[in-house]
């Protein structure tokens, strides 16, 4: 047991270290606390993000805490995800390519009783990364201009503690407590005649959030699920450092509004066809407009996300390796949370993936590729075409086997 606690600490620390590098490459990450992370544990990334009704009976599904109620005794799950993205940014007049790679989650789950299990998930909630150069602004009192380069980075992270419990064999409930922490930073590099003025603003976030989930198996082929995440205020403090050519830097705490997380509700379904096929469909709504926060240029709007995915395993339990591989495909359509001068920043993506068995116990190496588009080349928006590759180890270990014989 000590070994496992050590492992958790080690991984959590490693995860935090990796977090400081978490990046986005999108000007859209200027707004709020950045671009929300859409990657999760296990196979749901390849299913367009669908999986609210998916139970955690052979790998960890962290979309719904209720899924943990289905975790078999004597197993433990370990899940780690790594994502690389290639952004093609297009503003009409010009394009640019940017890549980034980052850890996307770190999770561990273990059963508590026959009917309940606990998981700990560390993942970015949102990422900030942008570099906007050559902004020309006028010098008041003259006809001249000064130039500004603005760059941002950082991330907001969440550490989730999930608990799932099977009330009946076909009804599971779950609860999530999330701790949010992280910092984002914006630096404005101004060049005014021969003078330079750098203004660095660092926002630090911390706060808690409560979530709940439910899963119900209508028949052995049909399941439904739902999740609710309560709105939450993250305490936000801002520290500004103003640096100019020769004078000492000025450091001050500037007042900033707390960042608010919206009420999120989701429902999902699972349909199984024979032993080989399963279809998932989810709908999530995030009520951003109820959060009372200003973005400056843009406004926050209610976000609707439609997700659907399909899995196919040629012959589960076959003695042939390739017949045990799970093939996956998914679609995701997101109406977006941002409205920039009247235009919603919509997002869609298509994903394909495979789950490659890597051990008899059920461990899988999940590979996923998705192609998506964020925004559009109209209404003053930027179009981002995003290629994503995600590698995800879903490890299933047998644990406490000895206890059976006690």
């Amino acid at each position: 047991m000590n070994k496992h606690i050590l492992l958790i600490i080690l991984l959590a620390t490693g995860g935090l270290a990796a977090q400081t590098n978490a990046l986005s490459n999108s000007p859209y990450s200027l707004f709020g606390a950045g671009i929300p992370n859409t990657f999760s544990t296990g196979k749901t990334n390849a299913l367009g993000g669908a999986g609210i009704a998916l139970k955690s009976d052979n790998s960890l599904n962290s979309l719904n805490p209720a899924s943990l109620g289905a975790m078999p005794l004597n197993h433990f799950y370990f899940d780690i995800g790594y994502t690389s993205q290639l952004f093609n940014l297009n503003e009409g007049a010009g394009t640019s390519k940017q890549t980034n790679s980052t850890f996307s989650n770190l999770a561990l789950a273990f059963p508590v009783t026959k009917k309940s299990a606990v998981s700990v998930v560390l993942a970015p909630y949102s990422n900030v990364g942008y570099d906007i150069t050559g902004i020309e602004r006028s010098i008041e009192g003259s006809t001249e201009f000064y130039s500004s380069d603005v760059s941002g980075n950082g991330s907001l992270n969440s550490l989730d503690l999930n608990y799932g419990y099977a009330v009946f064999n076909n009804l599971r409930i779950g609860i999530t407590g999330s701790y949010f922490f992280g910092k984002t930073e914006q630096t404005e590099y101004n060049t005014i005649y021969d003078y330079s003025l750098d203004i660095q603003r660092e926002n630090r976030y911390s706060g808690y959030r409560l979530g709940m989930g439910l899963q119900y198996e209508v028949t052995d082929k049909i399941a439904i699920g739902s999740t609710v995440k309560l709105p939450s205020q993250l305490k936000t403090t801002q520290n500004s450092i103003i640096t100019q050519d020769y004078a000492d830097a000025i450091t001050e705490d500037t007042s900033v509004k707390d960042f608010e997380l919206p009420l999120e509700v989701g429902i999902g379904t699972e349909f199984k066809f024979g032993k080989s096929y399963a279809v998932y469909a989810d709908y999530t709504r995030k009520l951003w407009s109820d959060t009372d926060q200003e973005l400056g240029y843009g406004t926050l709007i209610d976000q609707n996300i439609f997700k659907t995915g399909l899995t196919f395993t040629p012959k589960p339990g076959s003695i042939y390796y390739w017949e045990n591989v799970e093939y996956r495909a998914g679609l995701n359509y997101d109406t977006g949370y941002l409205n920039l001068s009247g235009a919603d920043v919509k997002n869609y993506s298509m994903s394909v993936g495979v789950g490659l068995p890597i051990s008899r116990s059920g461990s899988k190496l999940n590979l996923m590729y998705s192609y998506g588009q964020n925004g559009e080349l109209a209404n003053g928006l930027i179009r981002e075409n995003i290629h994503s590759l995600s590698v995800n180890f879903s490890l299933d270990g047998i644990w406490f086997v000895k206890s059976k014989y006690n």
């Binding site: 980034n100 010098i139 103003i242 180890f393």
Partner: protein
């Protein structure tokens, strides 16, 4: 466990790469920053005169006089002590002539086309610095009213290397005999009878010229046993540069500067035609006063001063090719009595000077900019800062008569004396 470790390593390798920074989204950046260009700060100028200018061991000795339309009759007399290492002459040597050799250093001011008159007098007092160890432009020594010689010359400061002025033979013969007869055997004996020379320009001269301190008196003589054409032999007594200096004076009657007989006195630009002035050598300098420093309070929010420059423009109408201003200004901090407190420094720790930032022949504009950000910050924090002013001087104050006429704060928009502040507001709250 192996897989765990390898995946752990993997997540540490988080990275990012850009192949270009993204030029769009500038409209989306919500910045509180405001940059303000402020040219409304009050600034005033006046002219004052240093009681004296230190002129020890200058690289140039000024000689001559001219009548300046602004500053009045300006004149420079050289006082010099002669020196030599040997005082022996062949007993058969025969005196020929004596010449004053002045080596040009290219500097001249005003009209060099006229014939100049110079009188050479013997100084009657020991030439020595004042008690503090320096010669000043005001230092004088008595000299014999009867000149050794009066010479005339037409200056060729650029075309020729040196000016050779033949002095009266009588003086040369006297020196020659004293040395040949061993009345004078060393410099102590020489200086006892010949304390020095005063080179006094005639008041109707038209130019002031610059000469190198390495100038001399030369005695030519011949040796009789030499064949046919006598070889010229000579004997040099050079200027002792440590005991040579120029005395600069001017007659300021009926000029704007008539009243400047004390360093504390200022002539406001309004009382001198709307201009302030510099005349190097004589110690006339421009004084800049910035009375209302705390004028930025009206700007809302938190801000910081990025830069502050004083802009001051030359009145080029009073200049000519021979009456010219320099291209740099020395800047000092002075107090209410016009005493120098120290150099003006910039934020990099360098001595700050006025440099030409706008130069247009078409618009007759020459504008100097002086960085005063550090000065303003210091002035604000120093307990005596209210009594701080700036003095603008010619960098060659001790060895030139360069003059400057600067527009005051009432001139046209481009030429007027003004302070430009660049102020940044970084927080509007």
């Amino acid at each position: 466990m192996c897989v765990l470790l390898s995946s752990f390593m993997l997540l540490l390798g988080s990275c990012s790469q850009d192949d270009a920074s993204f030029p769009v989204g500038e409209d989306w950046v919500d910045s509180d920053t405001r940059i303000l260009y402020i040219d409304t700060m009050t600034v005033e100028s006046s002219t004052f005169k240093f009681d004296s200018v230190q002129v020890s061991s200058t690289n140039r000795l000024l000689l001559g006089s001219y009548d300046d339309p602004i500053f009045g009759k300006t004149s420079s007399t050289i006082y010099t002590q002669l020196t030599n290492s040997t005082y022996t002459l062949d007993s058969d040597a025969v005196f020929d002539s004596i010449v004053l050799i002045l080596n040009y250093d290219d500097y001249f001011y005003n009209d060099t086309t006229q014939v100049q008159t110079l009188r050479i007098h013997e100084v009657l007092q020991d030439i020595k610095p004042t008690d503090d160890g320096y010669f000043y432009n005001t230092t004088t020594f008595k000299y014999d009213e009867n000149a050794i010689s009066e010479v005339t010359y037409t200056p060729r400061p650029i075309r020729e290397d040196s000016l050779h002025l033949r002095l009266e033979d009588a003086y040369g013969q006297l020196l020659f005999d004293e040395i040949q007869d061993n009345d004078i055997n060393n410099s102590d004996e020489f200086l006892r009878t010949h304390r020095g020379l005063a080179l006094v320009p005639d008041e109707n001269n038209t130019t002031i010229l610059g000469f190198l301190p390495a100038s001399s008196i030369r005695i030519y003589y011949s040796l009789p046993n030499e064949v046919e054409e006598e070889d010229e032999n000579s004997f040099d007594m050079t200027f002792n540069s440590s005991y040579s200096y120029h005395n600069l004076s001017s007659d300021r009657d009926t000029t704007y500067f008539e009243s400047l007989d004390d360093q504390e006195i200022n002539v406001d630009a309004e009382d001198s035609g709307g201009f302030s002035y510099i005349q190097a050598g004589l110690g006339i300098a421009s004084r800049i006063s910035i009375p209302h420093l705390a004028g930025l309070d009206y700007i809302e929010g938190s801000g910081t001063l990025l830069g502050a420059n004083l802009l001051i423009s030359l009145n080029t109408k009073v200049e000519s090719t021979s009456l010219y201003a320099g291209s740099n200004l020395s800047c000092y901090i002075i107090d209410q009595k016009n005493q120098i407190l120290g150099n003006l420094y910039d934020y990099e720790g360098n001595e700050a000077s006025g440099t030409v930032v706008a130069n247009s022949d078409e618009f007759s504009q020459t504008t100097f900019s002086v960085p005063i950000h550090y000065f303003l910050d210091q002035k604000t924090t120093d307990s005596n800062g209210d009594n701080w002013y700036l003095a603008l001087l010619d960098p060659a104050m001790s060895e030139s008569v360069n003059r400057y006429s600067f527009y005051g704060n009432k001139a046209s928009e481009t030429l007027k004396l003004q302070i430009i502040l660049i102020y940044a507001v970084y927080d509007n709250e």
